[in-house]
């Protein structure tokens, strides 16, 4: 076995061959799926807990506070303690609620974010499923989450929840367009929807540098639209705690609330990963063509570190938005999408197509 931190392909092959040598291929396949599932669950939980902690620390620093600092060194176990508390809390039964849908909703939300995460390349070879329509798959699957939010709002038998869910529906359906179109701009440049190829194509420079101005515009639009799509501030109208108490998840308690909470953070992680992969080269180190020595030094940093670093930077940007800006109103939110982002995006795609046609990109 050759475990290489720069390339997980041989490690994967070693596991695959090892399993196939001791059991029939079908069982080997099922075992592999189970292993991947468990690894993803662990990753999901760890990243979710860490993001909650990170958000609390970032917002504390922005607000002249210290943030969690009691449980463990620098309070790093605070979110774990919170999670245990949520696990042990009573699940409150809501009178006249639609029991089936009420219980189903958190799972739909969490499954949607879970499924989308499986298509993200974390490092070379560290990739659960490499679909040739990876981007399409991610866009399709991540928008399933809105079903869960709508169901949660509808089944809670609470008027605030319903308003929150309706807002969320209008918001996600609108901003889905901008997310899709801004990714399409890069697909025009890349000529493929497969994540592994998109990353490979950025070996000589990330798309944000390669694609001139259209790529930068697409990145900014993607950042705004994906912040809106994940229901984060300043677009957190679905929750809007000062207007709708807590919006669609007002009536949820205990572990079901934790699912919504975790899914929100994982969606943020997901869109940051997509942005990092599509615009900033994913796990690909920073290369400048012609600078061989510089490129070699950059290659010494493991791909996973590059990936996490880029994702963390984008998450940090999104946290800065959230703790700086006040919330938009629903009509202003839709105006922003339909009157500004969408036309900008459409023109931007044409611009990018023209650029690709004329071979003006790097």
């Amino acid at each position: 076995m050759t475990f290489n931190i720069y390339d997980f392909t041989s490690f994967n092959r070693w596991i695959d061959e090892g399993l196939n040598s001791i059991m029939p291929p079908t069982w080997a396949m099922i075992t592999e799926m189970a292993i991947i599932g468990i690894v993803f669950l662990l990753f999901y939980a760890v990243v979710g807990l860490f993001l909650v902690y990170a958000e609390r620390k970032v917002c504390a620093f922005m607000q002249n506070r210290v943030g969690p600092n009691r449980v463990g060194p620098y309070g790093i176990f605070q979110t774990i303690a919170d999670f245990i508390k949520l696990l042990m809390k009573e699940l409150v039964y809501i009178k006249d609620s639609d029991k089936l849908l009420f219980n189903l909703a958190p799972f739909i939300v969490i499954i949607a974010s879970f499924m989308a995460l499986s298509a993200v390349p974390f490092a070379k070879g560290l990739h659960a499923i490499d679909l040739d329509i990876g981007i399409l798959y991610v866009i399709a699957v991540s928008s399933l989450g809105v079903v869960g939010i709508l169901l949660a709002g509808w089944s809670s038998n609470n008027k605030y929840s319903l308003i929150g869910a309706m807002r969320s529906g209008a918001q996600i359906v609108s901003y889905e367009l901008s997310v899709g179109l801004s990714l399409l701009t890069i697909i025009v440049l890349a000529g493929t929807m497969q994540f592994s190829e998109i990353v490979e194509m950025q070996r000589n420079g990330w798309f944000i540098f390669k694609g001139h101005i259209p790529a930068i515009i697409a990145f900014i639009v993607f950042l705004v639209a994906s912040t809106a799509e994940t229901n984060r501030g300043p677009f957190d109208l679905a929750e809007a705690e000062s207007e709708l108490t807590a919006g669609f998840h007002t009536e949820y308690s205990g572990i079901k609330f934790a699912f919504f909470f975790l899914a929100e953070y994982m969606n943020m992680f997901l869109v940051a990963s997509i942005a990092a992969t599509v615009f900033w080269g994913g796990w690909m180190p920073f290369h400048v063509s012609g600078w061989a020595g510089f490129n070699t030094i950059m290659d010494y940093i493991p791909p996973f570190v590059w990936y996490i670093g880029k994702t963390a930077f984008i998450i940090w940007l999104m946290m800065l938005f959230k703790w700086t800006f006040p919330r938009l109103r629903i009509d202003q939110l839709l105006t922003l999408e339909w009157k500004y982002l969408l036309p900008i995006n459409l023109v931007n795609i044409l611009f990018m197509a023209f650029l690709v046609l004329m071979h003006w990109h790097f």
Partner: protein
């Protein structure tokens, strides 16, 4: 509820959607219940239901002596406790024709303006929070802490000071008082620029507040919307200018008026008032004359039989205090004209046709304090 149930089925499209904002709701900042009729997101009408923390302060006053009444007035509008105390003291002094020492007037005016600043700071914090900018909340509370520390040192209490008493103030100012006030002014003049940077100049904030909740000057007058909310509609209603009391006649300050009449103009009036309050304090703080901190008063204060009225400008508007005395040591009848109650009455009028989110912004811009409404 009966009318709603009996609506014909064909009306179901136009049927309004009723939600209760409160008694426990994050944006009412207290136990106020607004019964809001909605059509989608649009507010059709709203009905405030108050009285959840009605304590019968006016009735309780009838059993208390005048120095005792002061402690109850703290609890009306807890954010302008000093100013409420001031009203009672002015009324008693006017009725007994007592001339208070100059020093007392200076101290009271400075304290009033400090109260106004900290009230506006808290309002700014919660205004930002209501619009979703949570960082504002911590900025405001951080700076307010300095004023509370100043009060704690001089009055012995941070929140409900009951510092005024008929004829003067409870005790003389702490030796550190002037130094600390200077330090506060110096710090806050820098910090208030951050306030403008994070909220006032923000595009989202301007879109959220401009043209929202327009209250015309005529409506402001007819509904009796006083204070910064009324001045945001261009109504010159500052009691400090129209009927100067204590030191307000002698200091130079501008009455802040704005004419856009919307949430943004009410916001800007309060922001500007903080500057004016600092201006007033600066004029007084170094010139506090030596002397007694209280005039000689009788042990038992009895107001001559008759009716008395005193107005002061509290942080929310005009606080009127009406007392009927039958010559005893307790008032026969006491009535407070509290600013928040009148300001609440206009909420239905100006929030019709607006969105729920606007309702929250308008409510925040009126700066309602619920105990001030319910008394």
């Amino acid at each position: 509820m009966k009318e709603i149930i009996n609506l014909p089925v064909s009306n179901i499209e136009e049927e309004e959607y009723h939600i209760n904002m409160g008694p426990q709701h994050p944006s009412t900042h207290g136990v106020l219940r607004l019964l809001v009729s909605l059509q989608g997101e649009i507010v059709k009408s709203l009905k405030p239901h108050c009285g959840y923390i009605h304590r019968g302060i006016e009735k309780m006053c009838e059993k208390d002596t005048y120095p005792q009444v002061i402690h109850l007035t703290d609890r009306i509008d807890y954010l302008s406790a000093h100013i409420n105390n001031h009203a009672v003291c002015l009324l008693v002094e006017k009725a007994l024709e007592v001339e208070v020492p100059e020093r007392v007037k200076y101290i009271r005016t400075i304290m009033d303006e400090l109260a106004r600043i900290q009230s506006h700071q808290l309002w700014w914090s919660s205004f930002g929070m209501d619009l979703g900018g949570l960082t504002c909340f911590f900025y405001g509370l951080r700076d307010r802490e300095m004023i509370l520390d100043i009060w704690e040192e001089t009055t012995g209490s941070r929140f409900l000071q009951s510092y005024n008493c008929p004829g003067g103030v409870m005790q003389d100012i702490h030796p550190n008082f002037q130094k600390k006030v200077h330090a506060f002014l110096k710090t806050f003049k820098k910090k208030i620029k951050d306030y403008d940077r994070i909220l006032s100049g923000n595009v989202i904030f301007e879109n959220r507040s401009q043209g929202v909740g327009v209250l015309s000057k005529e409506d402001a007058i007819s509904y009796g919307v006083t204070g910064p909310s009324g001045r945001g509609s261009g109504w010159s209603c500052d009691v400090r200018k129209t009927e100067p009391y204590s030191m307000y006649g002698q200091v130079q300050f501008n009455e802040v008026l704005r004419y856009e009449c919307d949430t943004y103009s009410r916001y800007m009036v309060r922001m500007q008032e903080m500057h004016e309050s600092m201006n007033i304090i600066e004029q007084l703080i170094d010139n506090i004359p030596e002397g007694d901190h209280s005039a000689k008063m009788k042990a038992v204060i009895k107001l001559p039989a008759g009716e008395y009225f005193q107005r002061v400008e509290s942080a929310r508007g005009e606080l009127g205090l009406y007392v009927v005395s039958d010559g005893n040591k307790t008032p026969y009848r006491m009535k407070f004209r509290t600013p928040s109650f009148s300001n609440l009455s206009v909420l239905d009028h100006i929030s019709r046709g607006m969105k729920i989110a606007d309702l929250v912004a308008i409510g925040a811009s009126l700066d309602l304090v619920i105990p001030d409404i319910d008394r």
